[in-house]
Symmetry: C2
Subunit: 186 residues, 2 copies
């Protein structure tokens, strides 16, 4: 079941470095792409960073709408993550092509991607120099949700869940790591 995540703890959805899906919408169009280069930037108000190349269709939609969602996909979705990370959404509906399903989000107009384990709805903090020079976008997190089968009370709990619901860490060429064993040090 999808539950709200306290904004001040929303960074924990990204702190361990998972690969994300970036979803966006503008003027009746929508898209989804994969991004390994996303991370938290600040706790409160929570902010995130994501690199969105100038060549992408998502870039157009994000610049037009000022919004995006970072969706945290799981191992069950790995093939779709590679697919939407390889093809362009320009002239093709990547949701339809990949089988990923767009669903309404809480606050932003961009759709969230069904079946993901975490969601960070973001509004762009305009930084034109970073966007132009480095393809780097800053988003303020305005809503966060997670699947309580794997994230509860501010912590991931993969240990007692289906391994197919673990988050992913992309490397290159279709190769991933699943998020591995949890452990603690005093």
């Amino acid at each position: 079941m999808l539950v709200d995540v306290e904004l001040a703890k929303s960074y924990r959805l990204l702190n361990h470095g998972p690969t994300v899906l970036v979803s966006s919408a503008a003027e009746g169009r929508q898209n989804v792409m994969a991004a390994a280069w996303a991370m938290p930037l600040d706790f409160d108000p929570p902010k995130v960073l994501v690199v969105i190349d100038k060549s992408t269709y998502s870039r157009e939609l994000i610049e037009a709408s000022g919004e995006f969602i970072l969706n945290v996909p799981c191992r069950a979705q790995a093939a779709q993550v590679v697919q939407v990370g390889s093809e362009s959404g320009r002239g093709a509906d990547k949701f339809a092509a990949s089988g990923l399903e767009p669903l309404p989000a809480r606050i932003v107009a961009a759709p969230r991607v069904a079946g993901c384990i975490g969601y960070l709805e973001c509004r762009v903090v305009p930084e034109p120099h970073n966007q132009q020079r480095y393809d780097l976008f800053i988003g303020e997190v305005v809503a966060a949700q997670a699947d309580d089968a794997v994230f509860r009370a501010g912590h991931w709990h993969f240990e007692d869940a289906d391994p197919a619901r673990r988050s992913l860490h992309y490397i290159a060429g279709g190769h991933f790591f699943a998020t591995g064993e949890a452990f603690s040090v005093a």
Copy 2:
């Protein structure tokens, strides 16, 4: 054995989102801190991002020297990662306190941290607005090395190595994930 990593493939040391140790030196002083918020920014020339809080001693050394190293620690070093992520190096030698050993790096004056599995030697790309407003630093990678027991020919190979040599993904409160199972999709 430590081997050079082709600069164009150095992003792969960070692409899966591991927690890093940031080492720095200036005017005969040196320090090491943990950072979960580091990632690649560009392939060629390779650049990285890292968030370095204004309150840290490392921030002083990095601003003074214009250099830092992102060291990729392994599970065997987890307790030390937490220690150097919790204490300040101001007035205390965190290398001595933690038992982490500073060793000479290839190009920059900052020391690398012995026993890590990857190293990205970086020169700061000055962006005063990002540094002041977001504590965000951009580094150009000028040298990269990795332990060939776990990284060979541009790829991590944790599957046939000691589990204590796997990279780490920090969450909060001393809790980590180890890098998990490798898998591929077509």
